[in-house]
C-alpha cells in the first residue's frame, strides 16, 4: 500500500471552532488532493496541490483552506467549522496529473461538527 497517513482518523468538534486535518505521504509524489464524501454526492474535490506552496481550488472549496509547506504534508483547515462540513475526508496522492497515472487514497478522516 502507498504510504499515506491521515490524522486524525476521527474527530468531533463544535461549530465555530477551527479544525486542521493532516495528510502525510512517504511516496514523494508531487500531487496531493483533499476530497470530501457525503451520502448521495460521491467524492468531491476540495483543494489540490501540484507542488510545495502550489495549491488550487476544487469543486467545493468554500470554507476550506490548505497549505503545503513540505512535499510530504498537505493540511486541510476548516477556519470555522459548520455542521454542513460534517463528512468523511479523503486525501489522495499521485505522481502526475495525467490520467494514465494511478492515484492512491488514504483511509479517511471522519469529522463530525456538532
Amino acid at each position: 500500500d502507498a504510504g499515506i497517513t491521515q490524522s486524525p482518523r476521527h474527530k468531533v468538534t463544535e461549530t465555530g471552532t477551527p479544525v486542521t486535518l493532516r495528510c502525510h505521504q512517504t511516496e514523494n509524489h508531487r500531487y496531493m488532493y483533499w476530497y470530501r464524501q457525503d451520502p448521495g454526492h460521491g467524492l468531491r474535490l476540495i483543494h489540490y496541490s501540484y507542488g510545495v506552496k502550489d495549491t488550487d481550488k476544487g469543486e467545493v472549496s468554500d470554507g476550506y483552506s490548505v497549505s503545503r509547506s513540505k512535499t510530504e504534508d498537505f493540511l486541510l483547515t476548516l477556519e470555522s467549522a459548520t455542521s454542513s462540513q460534517t463528512s468523511v475526508y479523503f486525501c489522495a496522492i499521485s505522481e502526475s496529473w495525467q490520467m494514465n497515472t494511478e492515484a492512491f487514497f488514504g483511509q479517511g478522516t471522519r469529522l463530525t461538527v456538532v
Binding site: 496529473w97 495525467q98 490520467m99 483511509q107
Partner: protein
C-alpha cells in the same frame, strides 16, 4: 470536462460475471478511462485503466469500443468481497484538478 453516466446500483450473485457500463459521450482525444473501487469506510482503490480496445489485469477487464463513448468494466466470477462502489473516471487532462473527478459511482451488491 467529460461527464460520466453509470448505473446507480447493480445486484449480482456469487460466481457470476458482472459488467458495469459507463457512458462518456464527450470524451476527449487525450483522455484515459479509469475505474476505481471503494469498500465501505475505505478510500477508493485503482482497478484498471485503458485508452482503447481491451485491457485486462488480474482483477478485471475493461472494454472500450472504437468510438470511446462508453466503456465496460467486467468482473469475472464475483464473490461477496466484490461488494463495493465502482467509479468510472474520464479526465480532461491538462489540469490536475480535473484529473480525479468522481461521479456517483455504481453500488454493486453481490449476494450469496
Amino acid at each position: 470536462l467529460a461527464k460520466t453516466t453509470q448505473p446507480i446500483s447493480m445486484d449480482s450473485y456469487e460466481g457470476q460475471e458482472v459488467n458495469i457500463t459507463c457512458s462518456h459521450n464527450n470524451i476527449a482525444t487525450n483522455d484515459y478511462i479509469t475505474w476505481y473501487q471503494q469498500f465501505p469506510s475505505q478510500g477508493p482503490r485503482f482497478i484498471i485503466q485503458g485508452y482503447k480496445t481491451k485491457v485486462t489485469n488480474e482483477v478485471a477487464s475493461l472494454f472500450i469500443p472504437a468510438d470511446r463513448k462508453s466503456s465496460t468494466l467486467s468482473l469475472p466470477r464475483v464473490s461477496l468481497s466484490d461488494t463495493a462502489v465502482y467509479y468510472c473516471l474520464v479526465g480532461e487532462g491538462g489540469n490536475a484538478g480535473n484529473m480525479l473527478t468522481f461521479g456517483g459511482g455504481t453500488r454493486l451488491m453481490v449476494k450469496p
